[in-house]
Amino acid sequence: MTATLERGLNALREQIDAPVASFFTSCVSCGLCAEACIFYRETEDPKYTPIHKLELMRRIWSNEFTLLGRLKSMVGLGRKVTEQDLKDWEELVYDSCTMCGRCTMVCPVGNDLAMMIRKMREGMSGSGHAPVELIGAAERHSDYGSPMGELHPALHAQIKHAETETGIPIEMNKEGADYLVILSAGEIRDYPEVIGAMAKIFKQAGITWTISDDGFEATNVGIQLGNRDVARTLVSKVVEAAEKLKVKGIISPECGHAYQALRWEGPNLIGRSYDFEVVHIIELLDRLRAEGKLKTKGKASGKITFHDPCQINRRGGINREPRNLLNMVADDFVETEDAGTMNWCCGGGGGVGANERAADLRFKAFNRKKRQFDAVGAEKIVTMCAYCHHTLEEQLELHGDEETEVIGLAEMIGEYLDDEA
């Protein structure tokens, strides 16, 4: 099948509901969403105003979902959405938006703009206007189980490595384990230390866990593409694996959109609630901390700061937890400006990081993070999303910083775990 304009418009129509209608009705064109947007703030180009990125969906809503708009269309006043429009908007919807949701937080009338971008991407991807890199990732994930292609051998190797390193056996495909652990392709490839860290932590806490060959990939490019069919296919693999192994829960790893995909979109994509729990790794670690099942020894010296992944904090509600944990293991934990719920995006989320065309924009957007990191002068930046981790490393280097270390929070906790406890 081929993508068509009509399929895209159709997908947009399917996305319009009462919240979207109330959002468009309420917009007063105050432009405050622009002030919240990292891409506008770092470029000052008005085309990056978040609400403007939604113009095509607004048109569909106005023309086809309001009585007045229908009347206008009948007399030829409603502006139609054309192939060219979609083409023109591709950059705005995919390159200059990470769906970080800062705009959603500042809109005075309460419009959830990030959610609408997610919806608008349904129309963009349906009509063949999604970035090629994301489409490629979706194809690889569908065909080989991971956006980076076939990762089974790598996964097995990393697990084996972790077993050797920690001396803790990790049983794959174990039925009846407490938790199913899933990982992002980035972690498997670049940050596998987290596997060993989890092994140690869960052993200490007395938690049984496993990894499934059928569904180990946490990422879901369907969410970034904005294609619910693809997203459903991908999330189903994980859900089915969990159901097959009869686990009590799935641990969502340090990956922003994966958390959204599995915990918040997943049930709606597959059309039913889960019988198991979905918990973010940091949420779980903080729970263990509170229960006294997480014991650490010693603290990292030097100034340490934290980068909040948008999808996990601002749009995921995990805010206090990483700070509780960091204070256990960091001697000198300092926050950057705007840290927490209103943290600025690393500029790589929402598929922007995979998008070659957006490289310049991403670089410019990161200027803000760079200034904020420089202001606190941290030696180490801790985060809880592998993609943020990757973007931070990449952009720090591009911005001439080869000194500052970036590390995942779970991995860091693993480092300071009190093995004797």
Partner: protein
């Protein structure tokens, strides 16, 4: 003999108001029901926070600016507050307006001193001009602005100015000015359901939805 101004005033108070009220009430109902009928799918994800509670809470909390943002859009924020509060005081605390609301809804409250009402009016007008200034000069706002934005600006300005002029007899025949004041308010009422003025009603829904979406995830809003 007829006083054309008085006739105009009586038309504005009579048929004019009836027409405007009918269009406004009917139009708002149309727009709101139209939105609600669209509905939204039940969210199947197990809630972490309280969607309803946070939805309701956000209706109120979103009235305050997010920390640190005011310096980046001072005119929009401060002008916006002054306009909204000024307009509300002028509309809700002038004795004549309270009498109108009392007659329509049977609700009444004490009126404010004229000095307060008129100061609020003047401030609201100044704020409107400041907001127009930023709408014209700021690239973001200029790019976003449509004919409707400028129309609504004018429609919001006229009742304030004409009301002030009529009450203080600044110029023109006071009866004519009062008639024009009422007619301008009626123009605002008629435009209400078909412009962004609807935000004065649907912000409740938008903020609720925003809060409930975030609240379900246990995230702030």
């Amino acid at each position: 003999m007829n006083n054309p101004y008085f006739d105009l005033l009586m038309w504005a108070r009579g048929p004019g108001f009836d027409i405007a009220l009918t269009i406004m009430v009917g139009g708002i109902l149309l727009r709101v029901v139209e939105i609600l009928v669209l509905g939204r799918k039940r969210d199947l994800a197990t809630a972490k926070g309280s969607p309803v509670g946070q939805g309701v809470k956000t209706i109120f909390t979103r009235s305050f600016p997010r920390k640190g943002l005011v310096p980046f859009a001072p005119i929009t924020y401060i002008g916006g507050y002054i306009f909204h509060i000024g307009f509300a005081i002028a509309f809700l605390f002038l004795g004549a307006h309270i009498a109108l609301i009392d007659g329509l809804l049977g609700l009444s409250w004490p009126a404010a001193n004229r000095a307060i009402v008129e100061s609020a009016t003047a401030l609201a007008v100044i704020a409107l001009f400041a907001l127009l200034y930023t709408r014209i000069t700021d690239p973001v706002r200029r790019a976003l602005s449509t004919f409707g934005d400028y129309l609504v600006w004018l429609l919001s300005l006229l009742p304030l100015v004409l009301g002030y002029v009529a009450v203080n007899k600044l110029f023109g025949d006071p009866t004519l000015m009062m008639a024009l004041h009422i007619l301008s308010a009626e123009a605002l009422m008629v435009a209400f359901p078909f412009t962004k003025l609807m935000h004065a009603v649907t912000f409740l829904m938008a903020r609720y939805y925003n809060g409930s979406i975030q609240g379900r995830k246990g995230a702030e809003s």
